[in-house]
């Protein structure tokens, strides 16, 4: 029998399917098909469990609350060549499911997450550790921990290199600087890093668990704060889920303005990161200029909606704040000024040998590794992968307006910085083009009741990569499961990998070149 993804159901970004249309495959066949699909060039966008059998997405099944019963696994594969997403599922009867992590490293974190949330063991997993150090939702524990045994973050075995001259460096959870918490464990030989392992989970706030039973008045605010610097990306993904499940279409004007807001979010963060990278190699001119210019872009978001992070801008069915002609003119003026400032500040980097000497050949991720790890966003593009959900999985404005995808080949800190710079220019051009012919009309439709027993998928290319949301509704049209994959979830292992054989002092620039989200990973 040829194992392939031919049986998987196909859908596109921003659409829904009745659950009855999603094939339920035998477990072994399902995991083999995932391996085959990934070998054939697909990648995992989302892979998650849901409590209950495939026939009962019913309210009682609710992802979080049922006992040690059956769990259904859902996999969402991205077929970027064909602009489609493939989905299938399988029922797990016992306590374990076959791990594909050895053949497909990009699955390893997803499998650990399923293990942690549902107490299932991915049989054959090469590095079977918790992800967020949370208690399972089913009362069953994959590591055999008792219900009253405390679960402490980052406590457990770490990969260790033994040897007389080998030493271990532990950093975090509280880092130097105003940033989020995580724990980093380096195995070093002098200055050289043999291996880095990253333990996260400190930011776990229970978002996925709390989304079950929704949508309710908090759901949008969860989306806005999943990764607070990617408010527009996650809020848009969430709103597209509601729109698709209720058969409601956000007006064209709202879709265009969402696109502008998404690019402003990208601009602010890319500019800020280029400044921070300059700061990490002690090149202060760019560090200082970009720190301020980043604020200029945040203030453009505030011009739209009053909040620098775009809170309150995106709403189910469209957007909350319209843009009059005066506001557009003001945005144009500010964009011109910020473009000039950014250009001067960033080009200093490429003219300064001491900066380039630190960026080049540092923290390399080659294309094969990037493919294997299933990277997304600028990190993937810096390793030569032409992968961007704005082009590959378009929804909303991206079906009508394209942004050229910027790639680099070298996969080093330089490439991750330079891709950002190219994207800055593309984003500014995109915003200008949209302002030129902004569609007229309404800015908001009203999504009504959600379709029952359905699955909906929504992706948006945030500044770190795709923010993937999958919702499964119960018989009453409520969320029986809401799965969020922040781009950082795909990319954290790449940061660990990039440090191999580097100097430990390269960690700050490697880290900043990815600038991954802790809270987006931990949810």
């Amino acid at each position: 029998m040829i194992v392939s993804v031919a049986d998987f159901a196909s859908l596109t970004n921003g659409t829904s399917l009745p659950l009855s249309k999603i094939p339920t495959l035998p477990l072994e066949y399902f995991t083999n098909a995932l391996t085959a699909g990934i070998a054939a060039g697909l990648r995992i966008s989302s892979y998650f469990g849901m409590a209950g059998g495939p026939d009962a997405a019913g309210a009682a099944a609710g992802g979080a609350s049922s006992g040690g019963g059956a769990v259904t696994l859902y996999a969402l594969l991205a077929d970027d060549e064909q602009n489609r997403l493939l989905v299938a599922r399988a029922k797990v009867e016992g306590d374990s499911f076959p791990s594909i992590a050895v053949a497909c490293p990009q699955a390893q974190l997803f499998e650990r997450e399923i293990a942690e949330q549902y107490g299932l063991i991915p049989a054959g997993h090469p590095w079977f550790k918790p992800v967020r150090y949370q208690r399972s939702w089913t009362g069953r524990d994959a590591w055999g921990r008792k219900a009253d045994e405390p679960i402490l973050p980052a406590v457990g075995d770490f990969y260790r290199v033994e040897g007389e001259q080998v030493h271990e460096v532990a950093v975090g959870p509280v880092h130097a600087g105003v940033i989020e918490p995580g724990h980093f464990r380096f195995q070093c030989h002098g200055e050289q890093v043999f291996h880095l392992e990253i333990a996260l989970g400190y930011q776990h706030r229970g978002i996925e668990r709390s989304l079950i039973g929704g949508p309710d008045k908090r759901s949008l605010h969860y989306a806005e704060t999943m990764a607070g610097d990617s408010t527009i990306a996650h809020a848009t993904s969430y709103c597209q889920i509601l729109e698709s499940l209720s058969g409601c279409r956000a007006p064209a004007r709202a879709q265009a303005l969402r696109g502008i807001a998404l690019e402003l979010e990208r601009l602010a963060n890319h500019v800020g990161d280029l400044g921070a990278l300059a700061g990490d190699v002690a090149y202060l001119p760019t560090a200082n200029f970009c720190g301020r210019i980043r604020g200029d872009f945040l203030n453009m978001s505030a011009l739209f909606c009053g909040n620098r992070f775009g809170r309150g801008f995106v709403a189910p069915g469209g957007i909350l704040f319209d843009c009059d002609a005066a506001r557009i003119d003001e945005l144009k003026l500010r964009l011109d000024a910020a473009e000039t400032d950014t250009s001067i500040a960033v080009n200093l980097l490429w003219d300064t040998q001491s900066v380039l000497a630190r960026f080049e050949d540092t923290g390399m991720i080659d294309m094969a590794t990037a493919t294997e790890l299933g990277l997304v966003g600028p990190a993937a593009r810096a390793s030569g992968l032409s992968r961007d959900s704005r082009r590959d999985q378009p929804a909303g404005i991206w079906r009508f307006a394209q942004v050229p995808v910027s790639t680099c080949e070298t996969g080093d800190v330089f490439a991750r910085a330079y891709v950002r710079w190219m994207e800055i220019k593309q984003s500014i051009q995109f915003i200008r083009d949209r302002m030129k012919d902004l569609p007229g009309g309404e800015i908001r439709a009203r999504p009504e009741n959600l379709a029952a027993d359905s699955l909906s998928v929504s992706l948006n290319e945030g500044w770190r990569g795709e923010a993937c949301h999958v919702a499964i509704t119960d018989a009453g049209g409520r969320f029986a499961r809401y799965k969020v994959v922040d781009p950082s979830f795909h990319n954290w292992p790449a940061l660990a990998r990039s440090l191999r054989d580097q100097e430990i002092s390269d960690f700050p620039i490697c880290n900043k070149s990815f600038n991954l989200s802790y809270c987006g990973h931990d949810l």
Binding site: A176, R205, R209, N288, A302, F309, C519
Partner: protein, 265 residues
């Protein structure tokens, strides 16, 4: 090198003059605290309270809003059938005591945190080193605290500085709802700071739990984490505007008093 010099000249001096001159203007859609024109309320209407995602608005025994819980989202204002709720433009929102954030929904005007008592002000008024801890923060509060260190705001000119080691710090600036998984690290960091020390809660998460109020995975902010700890400054917002944070810090240190500069629109 020459290019860097030319760039520096073009850049010019970009630090705001505040507080010796008016603060930078806020966006016209800036969402300050919701203020109600109670005369327009319909009998028995609960639309604003029902729409609030965090239960910040209470209508029983007087109409009140807890700005420590408020996300400054647009939900209550959008829900009001009479258009009787508006967001005030005032950025001054910090308070010295948690209970001061619980305000009458109908009364407008700024919140003004008060200065430290004399001895503490003498110690920290001209030099305050803070250790920041994010305990479940979404990186928005963190980002807008960081902004204060950029050349536009230059927090250093007030003697305020973020430091890496709690041993170097005079206080802790907390963001995030305090996740269970950060409890130990937060406690150790706090204990490592020498007495006397200050505690500053920035953002609705740190004050009350914000969008995560009631989650078993979090402590509902600083009060849930350590009910006996008394924070010295509460800066509400989701996230607070950098100007709101700066205003709070400067009031705490006695650098601004009374009305300060009127809000510019």
């Amino acid at each position: 090198m020459l290019k860097a010099v030319i760039a520096r000249l073009r850049q010019g001096h970009r630090t705001i003059k505040f507080p010796s001159a008016p603060p930078p203007s806020l966006p016209d859609r800036f969402r300050g605290r919701p203020v109600l024109d109670g005369a327009r309320c319909r009998e028995g209407c609960r639309a604003c309270a029902d729409a609030c995602p965090t239960g910040a608005i209470s209508l029983e025994g007087g109409r009140r809003i807890d700005l420590g819980k408020c996300l400054f989202c647009a939900d209550c204002v959008a829900a009001c059938p009479e258009g009787a709720l508006v967001h005030a433009a005032d950025y001054r929102l910090s308070a010295s005591r948690r209970e001061d954030l619980d305000v009458e929904l109908e009364k407008s005007g700024p919140l003004l945190a008060s200065a430290l008592e004399k001895k503490m002000k003498h110690l920290f008024g001209r030099s305050l080193k803070l250790r920041q801890v994010s305990a479940g923060g979404c990186n928005a509060c963190e980002a807008d605290v960081n902004v204060l260190g950029t050349i536009g705001w230059d927090l250093g000119r007030f003697g305020i500085q973020m430091v890496a080691s709690p041993r170097h710090a005079d206080g802790l600036l907390l963001t995030g709802p305090v996740t269970k998984n950060m409890e130990l690290a937060l406690r150790k960091t706090w204990n490592a700071i020498a007495e006397p020390k200050l505690l500053i809660a920035v953002g609705s998460c740190a004050i009350s739990g914000g969008p995560y109020i009631g989650h078993a995975e979090t402590d509902d902010g600083i009060n849930g984490f350590a009910p006996d700890l008394k924070a010295d400054l509460f800066v509400p917002g989701c996230p607070p505007h950098p100007l709101t944070i700066l205003d709070g810090l400067l009031r705490l240190l006695g650098r601004i008093e009374g009305e300060g500069w009127p809000p510019k629109r």
